[in-house]
């Protein structure tokens, strides 16, 4: 069976800073995805598993006041359970442990649309650039994620990475020079060395041109904020594309 889109997965790096002083980047974290759909309106979180499951879902988000708050929701298996706090946006959704078989769906509101899915062997999802505020001067921050080809045998050939949507025009990306790397920077304001960042009008090839079965390629993201830029809730979309037999 050829490679399909579901075989190409975005995964996080081990170091995911939430401030400007801790390490950013590092090796791949196969239990974490930097991907989910943000809440459209302020609402409670509801979670449901697809079978027997008593793990705890730890929610971190911003309330309507802007304050960051947390809530722990204990799963009751395949029966939906809702939290009581209303979040304006979600920052992190972390399971208390991984599970080899269970999939957890996280909904916006009671019986609302699914906004995140935590699949077997994975533990959490989060946004990137948590608490990245503008400052008196222009500010740039750098965080890293990976694109992984999870197909068991096939290579993704002519593989390229690009930004397919950057509505706020704040982001640039850089593909690292070696696959399965573990490079990091001292903090997310430090510029990763040896790579060139490009905007969404460019596609950058994966080193060697192919992403072999089970290989991953690191991608640094740059968030550039102007001086005293107004608060915004934005997003970017990236894709790994290529050919398959």
């Amino acid at each position: 069976m050829p490679i399909v889109a579901a075989d190409l997965i975005a995964l996080g790096s081990l170091n995911r800073p939430e401030d400007d002083v801790t390490t950013s980047g590092g090796a791949i974290d196969i239990t974490h995805r930097p991907v989910f759909t943000q809440f459209v309106a302020t609402d409670v979180v509801e979670a449901i598993s697809d079978g027997a499951d008593v793990r705890t879902l730890n929610v971190t988000g911003r309330l309507a006041t802007g304050a960051i708050d947390t809530e722990a929701i204990v799963l009751t298996g395949a029966v939906a359970v809702a939290g009581v706090k209303s979040f304006e946006r979600i920052l992190k959704l972390e399971m208390s442990a991984t599970d080899g078989t269970r999939t957890v769906s996280v909904r916006e509101g009671v019986a609302g649309p699914v906004r995140a899915t935590i699949v077997p062997t994975e533990q959490d999802v989060s946004i990137m650039f948590i608490s990245s505020a503008s400052e008196v001067g222009a500010t740039t921050r750098f965080e890293k994620f990976f694109w992984k080809n999870t197909h068991a045998t096939l290579a993704l050939t002519t593989a390229t990475v690009d930004l397919t949507a950057d509505p706020s025009a704040n982001f640039r990306f850089a593909v690292v020079v070696a696959k399965d790397d573990s490079t990091s920077v001292a903090n997310r304001k430090a510029v990763p060395g040896g790579v060139t960042f490009f905007d969404d009008n460019n596609a950058q090839a994966v080193p060697s041109g192919s992403l072999l079965a089970t290989e991953a390629i690191g991608v640094w993201m740059e968030l550039a904020l102007s001086a005293s830029e107004a608060a915004a809730k934005s997003t970017f979309t990236t894709q790994l594309a290529g050919n398959t037999v």
């Binding site: 759909t37 943000q38 459209v40 390229t160 690009d162 397919t164 949507a165 509505p167 640039r172 850089a174 593909v175 020079v177 510029v191 060395g193 040896g194 790579v195 060139t196 960042f197 490009f198 905007d199 969404d200 009008n201 460019n202 596609a203 950058q204 090839a205 994966v206 080193p207 041109g209 740059e222 550039a224 997003t235 979309t237 894709q239």
Partner: protein
């Protein structure tokens, strides 16, 4: 951001620096139509990220210009630069590594 009217490099890069810079191939994706840009914006506002991605891909006229040719004409100073693509005119921005500061 360095402006586009900045004078490009007068002397070509050394082969050593060029090799260090050219770690991967980068191609211009080409311009996106105004209609496609509006559609992408609408889809993003609706939280439909996958549809937005598809609209972005479908709404571009492929270019393929080697963007590194531009990068090599500007200082490798770790600072953002911007320049129109010589082939399709789309404005591209980049931040090179600081290799010759």
């Amino acid at each position: 951001m360095k402006e586009t009217e900045e004078l490009p490099r007068a002397v070509p890069l050394s082969a050593e620096l060029e090799a260090e810079l050219r770690t991967t191939v980068v191609r211009c994706r080409g311009p996106r139509t105004e209609e496609a840009s509006e559609l992408v914006g609408e889809l993003l506002r609706a939280g439909k990220l996958e549809e937005a991605r598809q609209a972005d891909v479908a709404g571009r006229t492929p270019c393929g210009h080697d963007t590194f040719k531009l990068v090599m004409e500007y200082p490798l100073d770790g600072e953002p630069h911007t320049h129109p693509c010589p082939d399709c005119g789309v404005i591209t921005t980049w931040r090179p590594p600081a290799l010759e500061v």
